[in-house]
Symmetry: C2
Subunit: 395 residues, 2 copies
């Protein structure tokens, strides 16, 4: 049989896939998924929208449309980005099949085999999955509570050849929940200018802020057109519509559009029309504001439960938004083994062990825990049981 292309070697089953398969099973409490809470989807409004769209007069909603996205949706997204400090025109926006496709298209446009992508340490696993078929090399930069360590970044940029792209999730990062400070955002843009590298800013959680003030996006600080900004409707509307966007300078946006056309022709017309109808006919800011108390409560409950039940020597982040906290166990604990041997069989709890979130030199003694969508009683019971097992294992 004819052999696969070289890039296929870089495309391997995700280590978290087997755990996610458990997530829907009865008796399992999942802190693994990081899915938005389905009870918060604006399903009545979407019902009305699809009801209006699916009429013979609107048959064009089922037809092919422009590969960049429907003009109306591009304009509405551009309006929201402009209001968020990133002045732009509809033509600057490309609609993508969720945020994930933005990662795929940007890697295709910039990364030749062996080019270096600088990632946070840890970084979003899905981004590594998207980048890997382009056969990049990686460099990793540590984070602290202010996000990506820009001093360490400078060191990496000084000492690493062929850096093409810096990838960051500045708001409530997946997996750590950390947010990059304003000073670090400014410094990141300065360094990108100095070393002439692109920045890929990925913001799926940006609007899910429960405390504090919104920070300027990195794109809003960009004066040289080197920041590419990705966003998604998955957490603010519904992931099952698969709608995201890229904001980029014209030459970059145009080339991303050509790659989008090559990859899948276009996003679904009906869903793009529906999202535009939602943005123009309903108040998405009110909808987002209405979701925040639920997530804030779930975050607070998880952090309080962890505080109460996890043993000394365990640390965790206190995210101001998003869906995740990042838990660090004492060195020597292998989270994957702990989950396999204790957490699943003895407590029916799943989370995501840390190793696959590292682009280089994986660490095994952390876990990503999502507080989204788990009923209160199960959340408390799951954390409590996990705490008991940790005490036992760490004793």
């Amino acid at each position: 049989m004819t052999r696969f292309a070289r890039r296929a070697e870089r495309v391997q089953p995700s280590a978290i896939r087997e755990f996610l398969a458990l997530a829907g099973q009865p008796g399992i409490t999942s802190f693994a998924g990081g899915y938005p809470d389905p009870t918060l989807f604006p399903i009545e409004q979407l019902h009305k929208i699809y009801d209006d769209l699916l009429t013979p007069a609107n048959a064009s909603a089922l037809q092919y449309t422009a590969s960049d996205g429907t003009p109306e949706l591009r304009a509405l997204v551009a309006g929201r980005l402009t209001a968020d400090g990133m002045p732009c025109a509809p033509d600057d926006v490309l609609i993508t099949q969720g945020g994930q496709q933005g990662l795929d298209l940007v890697a295709k446009l910039f990364i030749d085999a062996g080019d270096v992508i600088v990632c946070e340490r840890p970084t979003f696993l899905g981004a590594l999955i998207a980048f890997n078929p382009c056969e990049p090399a990686y460099a990793s930069v540590p984070m602290d509570d202010e996000g990506l360590d820009t001093d360490a970044l400078e060191q990496v940029l000084r000492t690493t050849q062929r850096v093409k792209l810096i990838y960051t999730v500045p708001d409530f990062q997946n997996p750590t929940g950390r947010t990059m400070s304003l000073a670090r955002r400014r410094r990141l843009v300065e360094l990108a200018d100095e070393f002439d590298v692109m920045v890929l800013e990925d913001t799926p959680y940006r609007e899910l802020r429960y405390d504090g003030e919104r920070l300027p996006s990195i794109k809003s600080l960009d004066t040289s057109g080197r920041v590419i900004h990705l966003g998604s409707f998955s957490k603010i509307l519904a992931p099952g519509l698969r709608l995201g966007w890229v904001l980029a300078e014209p030459e970059i946006r145009e080339n991303l559009s050509l790659l989008k056309l090559a990859a899948d022709t276009q996003n679904g017309t009906l869903n793009m029309r529906a999202a535009a109808a939602y943005l123009s006919g309903f108040d998405i800011e009110a909808h987002i504001a209405g979701m925040l108390p639920t997530y804030r409560h779930q975050r607070d409950l998880m952090l309080a439960s962890i505080e109460e039940h996890f043993p000394a020597g365990v640390r965790w982040t206190r995210p101001d938004g998003g869906l995740f906290t990042w838990v660090t166990f004492p060195e020597g604990l292998d989270t994957a083994a702990f989950q396999r041997d204790h957490l699943i069989p003895r407590a029916g709890v799943i989370l995501v062990p840390s190793a696959p979130f590292f682009a280089t030199e994986p660490e095994v003694n952390h876990a990503r825990m999502s507080f989204s969508g788990v009923p209160d009683d199960r959340l408390v019971a799951g954390v409590t049981a996990m705490g008991g097992l940790l005490r036992e294992v760490l004793a």
Copy 2:
């Protein structure tokens, strides 16, 4: 500014994009698009389906789901493929973002830069667009009224290094409308076995047959697992849902699934649920049968009008199905120039000039003309006007 990856050189604006932009304008008669007729979409049934799906009890229709596609839709597609002579299980099927994504994923899995893809002469332009980012080389094989010339294919396989893939649209090919004969299909599979190359069978028009008997798919003749079969809901349900499928052997299907996950996580959940509800709750075979008279009538009207109005020396195909006829003008006529200088300004008619349909050595004296979706009076008027201009130009 950081430079683009090498593959970006292979990603250029499509020559047909500027013409397609004209297609929606008043006063323009478009034979260029090849879109399905929107009056044939089952919009009432889809209205009912989305009405049922978008209820709080069905919030999972808006949530993330499996990257391979919903189990129900995979099973229903597998059932239709089995009925079409390709016995398979749900797990053998991957749901894709239209047929285009199948082309993209297969190229990614098999093609290293410089590997050769053998295409028909002419071939589907969208496939070249999908393949190009993988930086293939191409070889082209002539066609006749029985489709791909398998003697010429054998010669190419004997004399060409690094052939990885043979790409074919065997049923009512885009752009020629030609169908590969059963004898040629068998010979193609024999040659693929002999020379150990993969075959990519792309069948978006397969079910739009207006005359004659359905032929076995190439996949149904495959005994060694080297044929990958692509299909699409775009022409039998609606393109705006962006739903297609890949049928392939397990190892190939699994690797395509990993590439799908990397590219865009998954197809839209809501649209997959809707397509499954359509297939399980309505009679898609009756729906398809109900569309055929309209397309058959449009084909017959276009061929009769061409016969009546085009001058001697012009030839054209007589497709048994699909959406296209392929018109060949005398050598020396450049269709793109004819369109630009005469057809658009003097008759308001657009079609697709032939050059971009050739993977190698483009020929300029042909055109793809679609008979779909043009009202009868405009179709006749457009062909008549075109005939008059051809007489003048060829005189």
